[in-house]
C-alpha cells in the first residue's frame, strides 16, 4: 500500500513551522489563491490537509464537498493570530445535524 502525505495550507508565517517537520506546505498570499491551491492539493495523494481558518473562509463550499468524501480529511487549524472558532463551529454543526440539538455547547438541559 502506498503512502499518503500530509499538507498544510495557509499564510506563510503560520505554516512555516510545519515545513520543518516534513509536512508539505502550500503558502497562500491572496484570497483568490486559496481555491486554486486547494484544488491542486486535493488532486494529489494527501490524506490529511490542514488549512488555516482564515484561508478556509474562502473555500467553504469546497470544504463542504470534501467533508462527504473519505479522503482527504480536511482539518481547520488556527493561524498565528489565534483561532476564529471555525473549527469548533464545525463540530457544533455536525452535532446539530446528527442529533438535531446542540448538546456540546448549548444548554445542558437540552441533552438527549
Amino acid at each position: 500500500m502506498s503512502m499518503y502525505k500530509m499538507a498544510v495550507i495557509g499564510d506563510k508565517d503560520s505554516i512555516l513551522g510545519f515545513k520543518s517537520l516534513g509536512v508539505a506546505t502550500y503558502p497562500v498570499t491572496g484570497e483568490e489563491e486559496v481555491p486554486r491551491v486547494l484544488n491542486r492539493v486535493t488532486r494529489e495523494k494527501y490524506a490529511v490537509v490542514c488549512i488555516t481558518e482564515n484561508a478556509a473562509q474562502q473555500v467553504t463550499a469546497q470544504l463542504e464537498e470534501l467533508n462527504q468524501k473519505m479522503l482527504p480529511a480536511v482539518l481547520l487549524i488556527p493561524n498565528n493570530q489565534g483561532t476564529l472558532g471555525l473549527g469548533m463551529e464545525q463540530i457544533r454543526k455536525n452535532a446539530e445535524k446528527a442529533i438535531g440539538a446542540d448538546i456540546l455547547f448549548g444548554k445542558e438541559g437540552s441533552q438527549l
Binding site: Y4, S20, G82, M88, A98, L104
Partner: protein, 213 residues
C-alpha cells in the same frame, strides 16, 4: 391518503406483504440509527476535547514561532527549515463503523536514529525556534488523530441524517399509507361480500314467492 389501487384480494395480499417488509425495515433502520448515535456521541466528545487541546498547543507553538521570527532574520530562518529531516508519511486504513467507512491514519516514523526533529544545526538559530518546533512535533500526532476523529464525526453525522430521514419516511409516510390502503381494500371486500349476500337472500325470496303463488 391512499395508494390508488384495485380493491382485490390479490392486491390486499401484496400490500400486506409490503407492510410487514416496511415494518421490518423500519425497525432495522431504527436500530441502526440508535447505534450510530451511540458511536457518534462517543466520538464527538473526544473530538471536542482533542480540538481544544490541539488548538491550544498549536497557538503556543505559533507564539514561539513568532518570537523566533522576531529574533532571527528571515533568510536564516528559511534556510534553517528549508530541508526537513523527516517526512510525514501516513498509512491509511479503512475502518467500518456500522457500514460507514472511516479512514484511520497511522503515522510512519521516518526520523533519523537520533530521534532529532530539528532539521538544522544549533549555531545560527535561536532557542525560540527550537521550542516552537519541538512543540509542533509534539502536537503532530494529535493533529493527525484529530483529523481522523473529525472526519469520522462528519461522515457519521451525514449517515445519521440520512438514516433518520429514511426512518421518518417509513414511519410517517409509507407505513400509514399502506395501513390505510389495506383498510380501504378490506372494507371494500367486506362490502362486496355483504352486497352479494343480500342479493342472494333477495333472489331466494323472489323464487320462494313465485313457488307459493
Amino acid at each position: 391518503m391512499e395508494i390508488q389501487i384495485n380493491p382485490t384480494r390479490m392486491e390486499l395480499n401484496r400490500l400486506k406483504g409490503r407492510l410487514t417488509m416496511a415494518q421490518r425495515g423500519h425497525k432495522l433502520l431504527k436500530d441502526k440509527r440508535d447505534e450510530l448515535m451511540r458511536k457518534f456521541l462517543e466520538l464527538i466528545r473526544e473530538n471536542k476535547d482533542l480540538r481544544i487541546s490541539v488548538e491550544e498547543k498549536l497557538s503556543r507553538s505559533f507564539a514561539n514561532f513568532l518570537l523566533a521570527q522576531a529574533v532571527m532574520s528571515g533568510e536564516t530562518m528559511e534556510e534553517a527549515i528549508m530541508f526537513p529531516q523527516a517526512r510525514v508519511e501516513l498509512d491509511v486504513e479503512e475502518k467500518n463503523l456500522m457500514s460507514v467507512r472511516v479512514p484511520q491514519f497511522i503515522q510512519q516514523h521516518q526520523e533519523d536514529e537520533s530521534g532529532n526533529v530539528y532539521p538544522y544545526g544549533f549555531a545560527n538559530t535561536s532557542a525560540e525556534l527550537d521550542t516552537s518546533i519541538a512543540a509542533l512535533a509534539e502536537v503532530l500526532p494529535q493533529v493527525i488523530k484529530l483529523a481522523e476523529v473529525e472526519k469520522a464525526v462528519s461522515l457519521l453525522a451525514d449517515e445519521i441524517d440520512k438514516t433518520r430521514r429514511r426512518v421518518n419516511a417509513l414511519e410517517h409516510v409509507l407505513i400509514p399509507q399502506l395501513i390505510s390502503t389495506i383498510k380501504y381494500i378490506s372494507m371494500k371486500l367486506d362490502e362486496a361480500e355483504r352486497s352479494s349476500l343480500v342479493r342472494l337472500m333477495k333472489i331466494k325470496d323472489i323464487v320462494r314467492g313465485e313457488e307459493v303463488g
